[in-house]
Subunit: 447 residues, 2 copies
C-alpha cells in the first residue's frame, strides 16, 4: 500500500468530469482558488503551510501505465480518454501565500491557473495536502503563544491519522515554532531536531525504578532524561537525587526529568523542590500527557516550574476542530469570472489577490481582497508566484526560513489581541469595491 504519490489519490468525480471535458473539447484556461470560508472557533488567525509538498505533488503529477491499465478495466472510461490521461501533466501557474504567513477567512491561499482539466484533477490532493498542514500549524502556534520561551516538542505521531499525518504534523508544528519532534523519520526527511526520553515500559521492565534510571543514564550519558511518574512521582524524584552523585563519579549528569500524569503543575513544584534541595538545580522538568495550549497556559499561570512540554495528540489531531472549512473553487473560466451561489457557500468570483496593510509601527491593520487586475493603493501582496508552466520558480525555501518569517510576524506584525489563545475581536478583512461591483454585475446578469 503506497499511495501518496499516486494520481489515483483523488475523487472519482474528478475523472468523470475530465472525461466530459475531454469529450466536449473544453480545454480553456481556468483559475481555481483554495480558501477557508470561516475561521474555526478559537483561531484568531491561520498559518499557511504545506506549499512545499503541494509543489512537489504538482511537479510529479502523472498517471502511471499500471494505473491507466487499471482505469481501463473499470468500464467507466473510454480507452482514448485513458490514453489522454496517461499523457496528462500539470503545466499551470501557481500563486500562493508563503508558508509561515498568517492569513484569514476568504483569502485565497493557493491560486491555480491552468487548462481546466489540469486545474480540476489536482483538486482533491491539493486540498488534502494544504488543509492538513495549515490546520496543524494553526493549532500548534497556539501552544507557542501559550508557552513563550519554553521548549516545545511534538509527541503526536502515535495518534496522528496515519503515517503522512504524523510526518506533516511534525513539519507543521516545527514551522509554527516548535523546537522539535519525537518523530525520527520527520527528523531525517525535514532536518527537524529530534527529542526522546524513555517510556514507562522501560521502567516497568526493570525490577526497580532506581536501577532503570541508572542503567538508562549509562546507556545515553550525554542526554539523561528520566521519566519519573511510573509509580510515585515524588518518590522517583528522590531516587533521581540519590542517583546523581553515583552518576557524577562517572561524569554523567542528569539533564532532566519528565512528568506524564497527575496534577503536573503541583507535581512540578514539589519535584523542583526535591531536585533543588538535592543539588540538582540544573536538572530541568519536562511535562507531557494530554496537553494542549489551554493546559500549558493553566500550568504556567499556576507558576509551574516546567521548562518544556511534549505536546502530542491534541495538537496532531487538532482536537477541538480537526478540519478547516476550506474549498477549492472555480473562479474564472475562458476569461470570464464564475461564481457559485449555493446557499451558505457562495464565494467571491474572479482571479484574486490579497493586500496586507500595516500601521506606522509595522503592525497589521487590515487585509484587502481584490481582483488581481484591480488597481489599488499600497499594501503588501500576499500571493506570490511559486510555479510557472508547471515548474517551480526559484529554489526550495528552508523550513527554518519559514519558521523565522512566522516568528518575525508574531513579534513585529501580528496585532497583540490576535496572539491570545482566547477568541479575540476578528481581524479586518475587506472586500474591494471592484470585487463587490463584479458580484453585482454577475448576479444582475444571473451568472
Amino acid at each position: 500500500m503506497n499511495g501518496q504519490n499516486s494520481a489515483l489519490l483523488t475523487d472519482l468525480y474528478q475523472l468523470t468530469m475530465l472525461q466530459a471535458y475531454h469529450r466536449e473539447g473544453m480545454s480553456d484556461t481556468a483559475t481555481f482558488e483554495l480558501f477557508v470560508r470561516k475561521l474555526p472557533p478559537n483561531r484568531n488567525f491561520l498559518v499557511a503551510a504545506g506549499l512545499e509538498q503541494l509543489v512537489e505533488f504538482l511537479e510529479n503529477f502523472r498517471f502511471s501505465d499500471e494505473e491507466c491499465e487499471w482505469l481501463n478495466t473499470l468500464g467507466y472510461f473510454a480507452p482514448e480518454f485513458v490514453a489522454y490521461l496517461s499523457d496528462l501533466r500539470f503545466t499551470g501557474d501557481v500563486y500562493a501565500i508563503p508558508e509561515g504567513t498568517a492569513f484569514f477567512q476568504n483569502e485565497p491561499i493557493v491560486r491555480v491557473t491552468a487548462p481546466i482539466s489540469e486545474a480540476q484533477i489536482i483538486e482533491t490532493r491539493l486540498i488534502n495536502i494544504v488543509q492538513l498542514q495549515t490546520l496543524i500549524a494553526s493549532k500548534a502556534i497556539r501552544s507557542v503563544l501559550a508557552a513563550p520561551g519554553k521548549l516545545l516538542v511534538d509527541f503526536g505521531l502515535r495518534r496522528a491519522h496515519g503515517a503522512e499525518a504524523g510526518l506533516m504534523a511534525a513539519r507543521a508544528a516545527y514551522l509554527a515554532g516548535f523546537d522539535g519532534t519525537s518523530n525520527v523519520l520527520a527528523g531525517k526527511l525535514f532536518g527537524i531536531p529530534i527529542y526522546g526520553t524513555m517510556a514507562h515500559s522501560y521502567v516497568m521492565a526493570h525490577d526497580n525504578e532506581a536501577e532503570a534510571f541508572g542503567r538508562f543514564a549509562e546507556s545515553l550519558p550525554d542526554n539523561v532524561l528520566l521519566l519519573i511518574d511510573t509509580y510515585d512521582t515524588l518518590e522517583a524524584a528522590r531516587k533521581v537525587v540519590a542517583l546523581a552523585p553515583k552518576l557524577a563519579e562517572k561524569n554523567i549528569s542528569i539533564k532532566g526529568v519528565r512528568l506524564d500524569s497527575g496534577d503536573m503543575a503541583e507535581l512540578a513544584k514539589a519535584v523542583r523542590s526535591i531536585l533543588d534541595a538535592g543539588g540538582l538545580s540544573e536538572c530541568s522538568i519536562f511535562a507531557s500527557g494530554d496537553l494542549d495550549e489551554h493546559e500549558l497556559g493553566r500550568m504556567l499561570e499556576a507558576g509551574a516550574p516546567i521548562d518544556g512540554f511534549g505536546v502530542g495528540t491534541r495538537m496532531t489531531t487538532s482536537r477541538d476542530m480537526p478540519y478547516l472549512n476550506c474549498a477549492y473553487k472555480l473562479q474564472e473560466y475562458a476569461g470570464r469570472p464564475r461564481r457559485k451561489r449555493s446557499k451558505g457557500k457562495a464565494n467571491w468570483p474572479g482571479r484574486k489577490q490579497v493586500y496586507r496593510h500595516y500601521d506606522d509601527n509595522g503592525f497589521m491593520l487590515h487585509d484587502l481582497i481584490t481582483e488581481e487586475s484591480e488597481s489599488h493603493i499600497g499594501g503588501e501582496p500576499l500571493l506570490r508566484q511559486v510555479m510557472a508552466k508547471g515548474k517551480r520558480l526559484g529554489s526550495q525555501e528552508t523550513l527554518t526560513a519559514m519558521q523565522e518569517r512566522l516568528r518575525g510576524q508574531l513579534l513585529q506584525q501580528l496585532p497583540p489581541a490576535l496572539k491570545s489563545i482566547e477568541e479575540s475581536a476578528p481581524y479586518a478583512v475587506f472586500i474591494s469595491d471592484g470585487l463587490k461591483r463584479l458580484v453585482e454585475r454577475m448576479d444582475g446578469a444571473g451568472l
Copy 2:
C-alpha cells in the same frame, strides 16, 4: 517523501530504550497489549479495525541500510547497536480481536509477545495504524446505524489528514458498512466500490446549467448523476425534468440528483415532488455536505425522501472526537506481570484474554477480562492468534468477510440499546477475580 513503510516512523525514545536494553543484555520475552482506556463520549461501542495493515507492517519490519547509515550520523547510537538494528526483525506472536468486532474499554485488542526490544520498537506505528482505522470504523458505523438501508458513500478524502488517512478511512468506513467511497485509489487497493458524480466547477465552467447537465449525461450515459445546487436547487430540478425526454431519445436515463447545501430535508421533498411530477420517480436523490450521523438521523426523521448520503469530513476526521484514549502497555516481562500505576493511567497487568457471554437469544450479555492462563466457564474468547514467530497465521481475510461479521453482530448480537446514536447505559465489562487478586498481590508487594 515516502515514509509509511519506514522503521524510522517511530518515536526517538523507542531507539534510545532499545540501545539501553541492548547494552544491558535485556532480551527476555515481553507481552504488550493495546487497549482503549475509556470509550469517547457518544460511542456505545468501538469497532476493531486496521489489523491487516498491522500484520503487513510487522511482517515487513526492518531498518534499511540507508536508514542505518543515517542513524550512525546522529551521534546518539553506538555503531554496534546500529548494526544490531539492521538485523532486527519482528519474530513475535500476535493475538488480536478480529477486524469488524465490537469491543469496549480496557479490552486488549492487540496482544504482542516477543523479545522486549521487538515488542517495544513497533509501539508507535502499531498504535498509529490500529488507532486510526478503529477510530474511523467506530465513527462510520454510527452513520450506518442512523440511516439503515440507505446508500452510504465515503466522501472524506480531501479533508482527511493526508494520503494514508484518506485511504484507511475509506477502508474502515467500508468495513463498518458503507457501500463505497469516492476515493479512486482505495477502490484499486482494497476493491471497494467507487462512486462519483460531478463538482460545482463542472456546472460553473459551462455557460448554462442545463447544457452542463446534458453534456455530462452524454459523457457518462450509464451513470447519470447530476449536482443540482450550484445556483438554485428547485430551478435545477426543473431543468432535469426538462432534459429527461431529450436524453430518453438517446436511451439515456437520469439515475439521480445530488444536493450539497441548504436545508436538504426540505429541498429533498420539493425536489422529489418536481421529479415525480415530471415522470422521474425512478430518479434517486443523494445528499452530501457537512453530514454526520446526527444530520442523517434528523433528515430521515423529518421524512426527507433521500436515498443515499455522501458522508465526508466529519466522519473521516471523527469530528467530535478525533482520537481514542488508547495505550500499548507492557503487561508482562520475563514471566512476571507488570503494572503501571501512574495516576489516572493505572492498568490491568498480565497477559489477558476477553470472553464474551451471550444470552439464550444470542445477544451479548457482558464481557469478562481475564488472565490468559485463568480457568473460566464459557464465553467466546475474542483474542485470536494472528501471527506466530513473526509470520501471519492462515490467509488474509477479505474486507467483505469483515463487513459481514460486523453486520451479523449488529443484527443478531449487539444489545439494541447500544445501537442508538445517543449515549446508552454502558455495556458491562467485568474484570475476573483472578485479575483482581493479581493486582492486590502486586500492589501489596509494591510492584
